[in-house]
Every structure is written in C-alpha cells, then in structure tokens.
C-alpha cells in the first residue's frame, strides 16, 4: 500500500475533471497550511494577545460572520442590499429576547436568532421577485428604515430605547464571560460558517446563485427558479447576519437600537467591496480592514485630543472617521476594485513565481 502522491502546483492548467476545478485546495500544502492556521488561531493567538487586542480580534470575528453573509448576497447572487445592518439588529434582538424571555441557553439562542433573522430577511427579500438592480437596492433601503422603526417602537418586545440586558452564556452550569471564552464562541462559529459558505459555492444552489448574478434572464431560461433562489440567498445572508448579531448581543451584554443604523449597513457593504466581491476570504480581510481602521481612527483622535496641541479646537471622532472611511471606499473602488482578496492573490503568486515572475 503506497501513499497517494503529493499534489504540487502544476506548471499549467492540467485539470481533467470538473471535480478538480471545484476543489478548494489546489495542493496538499494548501490543506496543510489551513490546518496549521486553524491550530495557531485556536491554540496560540488568544494566549499571545492582551485583552484589548483580543477584543479587537473578537470584533473582527463577529464582523467577518456578517460580512460573509452579505458577500453571499451581493458577491454571489448579485443582489445589492442596504439593509444588512438592520438584519444584524434583528438578530441581536432575537437573541436577546430568546435568551431573556424564553430562557434558551446560548447555543440554542444563537442559531435560533439566525433562523428568525433568516425569516425576516426572506420577507424583505420578497420585492426581489419583481425588482432588480437599483430598484431592489432602494427597496432594501426602505427595509432598513422600516426595521429600525419597528425595533425602536415595538416596545412590548424590544423595550424601546431602554435596551435589553442579556444573561451571560452558560455551558453545563459554568458561566462564560470575558474576552477569551468569547473568542472561542466567535471563532468556532466563524470557522463553521466559513466552511459552510466556501462549500455553498460548490453546490448546485451556489452555482444557481452565480448564474443569477451573471444573467438572471438566462438563468431562468436554464430552468433555475430565480425568485426562489433569490429568496434563499436573502435567507442565508440574513442567517449569517442574525448569528453575528446574536453573538454581538451576548458579547456586549446589552443591546440597544443605536448601532443598527444605515451607517452600519454601509459599513458592511464597504467591507465586502474592500475585501473583494464574491470572495469569502475577502470578506474576512474587509472586516479586519474596516474594524482596524475604526480602532486606529479612534486611537488617533484620542491621541490628538490628549496631546493638547490643538486642545482649543473642537475635534471629535465622528467627522474624521466619516472622512477617512469614505476616502478608503472611494480609493479602493478607483484603484483596486477587486479588493484586498486580489491584492493577497497577487502578493502570493508573486512569491510563488519568484524569481521568474512570468
């Protein structure tokens, strides 16, 4: 019995079957590196980083989950949604209500919140049956405002502007709190959902999504029930948002309506664009980029305020953040429209091909 021959990068395109084309790992080293990456992520990273770094890593993880969801909708299915922030809010509130009123443990409350959000997302995806392109974008914008209004004014369930405080999650009687334990909750969820998203692209459903993105009329002609698949895409995307929202609610201990505004939706679209449309790893890059940018700007403005040089000026965080954030989006679209995923691919292949770069 001999071992299978190791797969290396071939010096050309020698794929013989569709299965080879679909494979996630081109070489055995790719598989090895991703296993090593996971081990490092779970066993080394949380113990090397301080509480503040860990907090940022956790925030990136949560943002990545939601960004992957949005990328399934925008990048894979081609439906531009401006309501993702509101779906995150639905997930957060669903998680909070399920955890407090229904007393569900967190490992049930979080997926259940995802399912609730998926339903809501499908309801707001109904206009996609008749609309496409910009008209659909405007419909989702309306969805954002309507959900926001409901979250604020349905006081019987959401307690209005008061917010809901969540209990700490428990596993077999042991209370989970602190950044370290949340790190595991967040990143196990992220790993599972990333696995799901990467494999979704390889199923017939994923291929149907891509067909709808590329030409919905042709897709319909090929026998894909377009409306049903658009709804499914809205559902899956909102499920991701709901899970992210529910974890966020647990992590932040209390939820209020403020964060889930149009600004958040725009931030998520920015993540998807900056990361790379239709690329799962791109969503994570984008989430990391935007989160770190936010933190850097906050740090910078704090530093400028405390250094006293311009103490007389009324300088606060919001305008600079707004300015730099917008500039980042504009520059990325103008210079690298395929996003960080493309930058990463170029860097990697230039290493791979070194020193003969062509």
């Amino acid at each position: 019995m001999s071992l299978r021959k190791l797969n290396f990068h071939p010096c050309g395109n020698y794929k013989e079957s569709y299965f080879q084309e679909l494979s996630i790992f081109q070489t055995d080293f790719g598989r090895l590196w991703s296993v090593i990456g996971l081990i490092v992520l779970f066993a080394v990273v949380p113990f090397l980083s301080g509480p503040y770094t860990l907090y940022i890593i956790n925030t990136i993880g949560i943002a990545s989950i939601a960004a992957i969801g949005l990328n399934i909708l925008i990048g894979m299915t081609g439906q531009i949604s401006l309501g993702h922030g509101a779906f995150l809010g639905v997930g957060a509130y669903a998680g909070a209500v399920l955890a407090t009123s229904a007393n569900l443990p967190f490992y049930r409350a979080i997926p259940a919140a995802g399912l609730v959000t998926a339903m809501v997302g499908m309801v707001f995806g109904i206009p996609s049956g008749r609309l496409k392109g910009l008209y659909l974008t405007i419909a989702t914008l309306a969805g954002q405002f309507i959900i926001e209004y409901i979250l604020i004014h349905w006081e019987g369930v959401t307690r209005g502007t008061m917010g809901i405080t969540l209990p700490s999650p428990e596993v077999i009687g042991i209370e989970i709190s602190g950044d370290l334990s949340f790190f595991y909750i967040i990143f196990i969820a992220l790993a599972a959902l990333t696995w799901g998203a990467v494999n979704l692209a390889r199923t017939r459903h994923g291929r149907a999504f891509i067909a709808i993105r590329d030409n919905d009329r042709a897709a319909e002609g090929m026998g894909i029930p377009v409306f049903r698949f658009k709804l499914l895409s809205f559902g899956i995307s909102s499920f991701y948002a709901g899970v992210a929202g529910a974890i966020w609610a647990y992590y932040m201990v209390s939820v209020t309506t403020e964060p889930f505004s149009l600004t958040l939706s725009v931030e998520y679209i920015a993540m998807v664009i900056i990361g790379g449309l239709g690329s799962i790893s791109g969503s994570i890059f984008g989430a990391a980029f935007i989160t770190i940018l936010n933190e850097l700007l906050r740090y910078l403005t704090d530093y400028l305020m405390n250094s006293g040089g311009i103490a007389g000026m009324e300088l606060n965080f919001a305008p600079i953040r707004e300015l730099v954030f917008g500039l980042a989006i504009v520059l990325f679209i103008l210079t690298e429209p395929k996003g960080l995923a493309e930058v990463w691919r170029i860097t990697r292949s230039s290493f791979k091909l070194w020193p003969f770069s062509y």
Partner: protein
C-alpha cells in the same frame, strides 16, 4: 377644517421642495444611470457655501446666491470628472458604492469645517411674500421656494426643449449608443448633467436651509428622502419627480398631523415598498424591456 387646509398647504410646500431636490437626482440617473447617494450631501454643501458667503464673507444675498450656484456647478463637474468618469462601464455596485463613499467624504468634510450644530441664515426674505388667506398662513419661505422652483422648472424646460446641449442630454438619456454614433459627446453630457444636478441640489439646499436652519445631518438626510419621491414618480421622469414630491410631502404631513409624529419619517418608505411591489417603474417611469 382649518387644520386640514393648513396641513394641505404645508404638505404641498414641503412636497414641492422634495420634488425640486429630486429633480437633480433624476437628471443624473436619466443621463448616466447612476444612483447618486451623495445627493443629500451635495445639497447640504450648497446650503453651507451660501452660509459661508452670506454670514462669514458678508456678500449681499443675490450675488451670494448666484456664486453658490456657480460653485456647485463647478463641484458637480469636478466630481464627475474625478470619480465617476473612471468608472464608466464598471459594475453597478461599484458606482453605487462610490457615491456612498463620496457622501461620507463630503459629510465628514462639512462636519470638520462647520460642525454638527444648527446654523441659521439672517432673515432676508421680504415680508410681502407672506400670504394670508382666512386663517391659513403661508410663510414667506414657502412662497419664495415656490417662485424660485417654478422659475427653475421653466428655465430647465426651455433648456431641454430648445438649446442644443439640452437636446444632446435628452438624446443620451434616450439611447446612449445611438447618441454616441450620431456624434454626441456623451462624456460631456455626463459632466454637464452632474454639474446641473449639483446646482439644482444647492438651490434646494439653500431653500431648505432658510426653512429649517442648516444642519449637516438634517440636510443630508433629505438625500435619502428623495428615494421614495423618485420611485413614486419614476426614476427617470423629471415631471414625475415633482408630482412624486408633492404626494410624499402630503403623505408625510398628514401622517404627522393626524396619526403620529414618529410615524412621519417612516411612512414614505412603507409607501415606497408598496409602490415598488405594485408598480415597480413608478407612475411616469419608463418600463425597461430586457432581453437575454
């Protein structure tokens, strides 16, 4: 009854303003199919340029007004040249996101320069503009906005109907490829439509500023309220924008007056969803026919 009539008058005046704000938006969409999310910010910037000229530089009102319009015209031109032109032919979402990013940049800039507080213009409208009829009052700013708005509509109507540039713009809106092959300079038309749209936006920014005071957040949120208006009227119909504006204005004022003030802001969007479901291309919009 008086309450009803007063609401009617208010609704129509607010709606007329929405209509004028939406006009610039429709103009851009019609000629270059770009959904401009930065419209509210361009509108607010117009208001602030006027503020800077009138209050800080103490320019008399009428030259300041004309200067603001010129500055916004130039601004629209520059925005198209720097940001939109490289994206001709790129996917929809990139263009949309570019305007979103632009909105963010402009908003941040305005917040840095003027801060988030409420500013007001000095009172310069003559008193004879105030109309009284029985118990119904029409504030001078409403009359002024109506007069200015109507004159702009007439000027643009004539411009589109008779001037050669206007005819070029209409031809590009009608069929870009055909216009291109007949020798119309399409890029110039795009630039011109952005410039004119920014100018109209600045005009509505000034009027809204006189009415409610100038605040970055308030004025830029008008850019979002434009969406229900244009969807109702049809994304590519200028006349539809005015009528859509009137309907949305009335809807908003009556909901605020009779139902609840908090519902006022969300009602246009609820209406929007229903319009989209029932009549996706609006009242006067062009129905797109697609082929594979």
């Amino acid at each position: 009854m008086d309450f009803f009539l007063q609401l009617l008058v208010n609704g129509l005046s607010v709606g007329f303003l929405y209509g004028i704000s939406a006009m610039g938006f429709v103009m851009i969409f019609k000629s270059s199919s770009v959904l401009n999310f930065a419209h509210g910010e361009i509108l607010a910037l117009g208001g602030f340029i006027f503020l800077a000229l009138v209050v800080s530089a103490e320019v008399p009102v009428i030259p300041a007004f004309l200067l603001t319009l010129c500055a916004s015209f130039a601004l629209g031109f520059v925005i198209e040249r720097l940001f939109l032109r490289p994206l001709i032919g790129e996917p929809l979402i990139e263009v949309v996101m570019l305007t979103v990013g632009l909105a963010s940049v402009l908003k941040g800039f305005m917040l840095l320069v003027w801060g988030g507080n409420l500013h007001t213009y000095p009172d310069f409208l003559p008193g004879w503009l105030e109309l009284n009829w029985h118990s119904i009052q029409v504030a001078p700013v409403y009359t002024a906005s109506f007069l200015v708005g109507i004159s702009f509509l007439v000027v643009f109507g004539l411009f589109f109907k008779y001037s050669s540039q206007g005819i070029y713009m209409r031809s590009v809106a009608d069929n870009q490829t055909a216009a291109l092959s007949l020798g119309v300079h399409v890029k110039k038309v795009f630039a011109l439509s952005w410039a004119i749209a920014a100018m109209v936006a600045a005009l509505s920014g000034i009027i809204l500023g006189i009415m409610n005071g100038i605040n970055v957040h308030e004025l830029s949120s008008v850019g979002l309220k434009v969406f229900p208006v244009v969807i109702l009227g049809g994304l590519d119909s200028i006349g539809g924008a005015i009528i859509g504006g009137l309907i949305i204005g009335l809807l908003e004022t009556f909901t605020g007056g009779y139902v609840s003030t908090s519902l006022k802001d969300v009602v246009p969007y609820v209406a929007l969803v229903f319009i989209l479901l029932i009549k996706p291309y609006g009242l006067f919009g062009l129905v797109e026919i697609e082929r594979v």
